[in-house]
Symmetry: none
Subunit: 298 residues, 2 copies
């Protein structure tokens, strides 16, 4: 039947792990950059090689057998080790040339990063900085990015974070808005104001405003957008009001603080990377340049 000592194919194991983690062959194929028939064949070959039925083909979808589940438990360890290898490799890379991925909110990507990127370009022409302008939190542990700029303190182990200069967020509006809706002279005047909302919800923002005596609720957020840049553009065109970090607003002509006497919302900034990646020359370079620029008050 089976060959006595068949050398296991690690790519087939990778295929099995990805299939289980993705839940389907198709999903695993997308994840690994392969195709569904390839994944199917690799998993089938692994089943034949190990002599264990791992999946039960039940129409649409695959169902893990008990035997398969036990295998996958060890496969997860294997996958974690593989990620550590990749992580260590990235950290060992002493070449300045290469790719560094940075995740950052789209607003920062659009208004804060450009001068920093030109600065990096001058320091290292062969360096490619991939900016993932995603507003959701990326997982640095899984190396979805090398560096992240965040406004919340990271609490995961294995990550090192540097706190940059704190900044302040104010409520801004365009002249067109104030002409149409009136300029507020007190916190109470915001009661009927219109704000741009975020997809993830505005509860935290509403709480911050309420703490300052601004009587707003969900009804004041009739529109929402995932894109911070879009929301900021709405504000600039006078569609609504919106909060923005002052470093960005200062570079946006045509917006004014709605009520200067209102206490600003403090915004902290952390620069985060993985411990293993600190040893990489190019990641360290990007990290240091970003940290230096973001820590300088201005």
């Amino acid at each position: 039947m089976n060959k006595p000592h068949d050398i296991p194919d690690w790519n087939q194991m990778r295929a099995l792990l990805a299939t289980v983690q993705a839940g389907s062959l198709s999903g695993a194929a997308k994840r690994l950059g392969l195709t569904q028939p390839t994944l199917g064949r690799q998993v089938a070959a692994l089943e034949a090689s190990l002599g264990v039925t791992i999946f039960e083909r039940v129409g649409r979808g695959l169902v893990l057998t008990e035997a398969g589940a036990q295998l996958v438990a060890h496969l997860r360890d294997m996958g974690e080790a593989a990620e550590k290898v990749a992580m260590a490799a990235a950290g060992q890379s002493q070449s300045i040339d290469g790719v560094v991925r940075v995740t950052v909110s789209d607003v920062y990507a659009a208004h804060v990063l450009p001068p920093l990127l030109t600065q990096l370009r001058a320091r290292a022409p062969g360096l490619v900085v991939e900016v993932a302008a995603v507003n959701s939190i990326s997982d640095l542990i899984r190396r979805e990015a090398d560096i992240a700029i965040r406004h919340v303190r990271p609490d995961q182990d294995g990550l090192i974070a540097r706190r940059c200069a704190d900044s302040a967020a104010y409520i801004y509006g365009a002249p067109a808005y104030f002409e149409r809706e009136g300029r507020p002279n007190s916190a109470a005047d915001f009661a009927r104001a219109v704000f741009v909302g975020a997809f993830e919800g505005n509860d935290i923002f509403i709480a911050e405003l309420n703490r300052r005596g601004v009587p707003v609720g969900p009804a004041n957020f009739p529109w929402a957008t995932q894109s911070g840049v879009t929301g900021w553009e709405w504000v600039r065109q006078g569609l609504c009001l919106g909060a923005m970090v002052d470093v960005v607003a200062r570079r946006t002509p045509g917006v004014e603080v709605a009520l200067p006497s209102l206490e600003p919302i403090p915004v902290s900034t952390w620069l985060v990377t993985h411990r293993e990646l600190r040893t990489s020359a190019r990641i360290r370079l990007v990290f240091d340049v970003l940290a230096e620029a973001l820590s300088r008050r201005g």
Copy 2:
């Protein structure tokens, strides 16, 4: 340039680990059942992919760089996990101990299986056989059970079925019943007989009897039970008549064939399992023992 998301090739990692452990590409090739050029290319590709120089080519032999050593540390974990996967797979496919679920009608569970279970106990003391005495058809594809004993031909794809010895069912009654209701001397005498009914309906049974000239209808089935054992007990106590496979009735004292001249109802038996039979030693053992016993006429 590197692609943004470079999926690591686990076989290349395996090649690197084997090379380090064997001390040379040639040695690793022999160990993995590959050739030296293949290993060399895989390691070179991994170096290019990770952007790390792992080996210093110094004439004869390779020397690990410091960066490579750090990678290998994690690679050893990966290799250990891989070995555990293979180990678990070997254990899964060869271990006789474990649980095998068998679904079978409760009548068979009560009267046919006991000697077979003791036989299995002798062959494999660590084997646990779960007998699900359910009269409804279980779904083997969804692994509600590993083996099913059925009396209808399975039509689902992906199932492995073996036809066992055919048996015959007769109509039985107890002396108490015959004394009270009279013993039928011809098929027509069953017109006012009382039969035990099944929950799922008696249409097929009625049709079989009618085909033999027995004039019965739903009115002859005043009572019904889901439990075949209960129904058979009713027959034994003289409450009513009932059909039963002769192999069971022969082991039940105190029941007699109601009308020996009546042609018996043929009953076929299939032993059914799913794909995992091919790889699971314990399922195969139970399957073979059941098949051998159920195929022997007696």
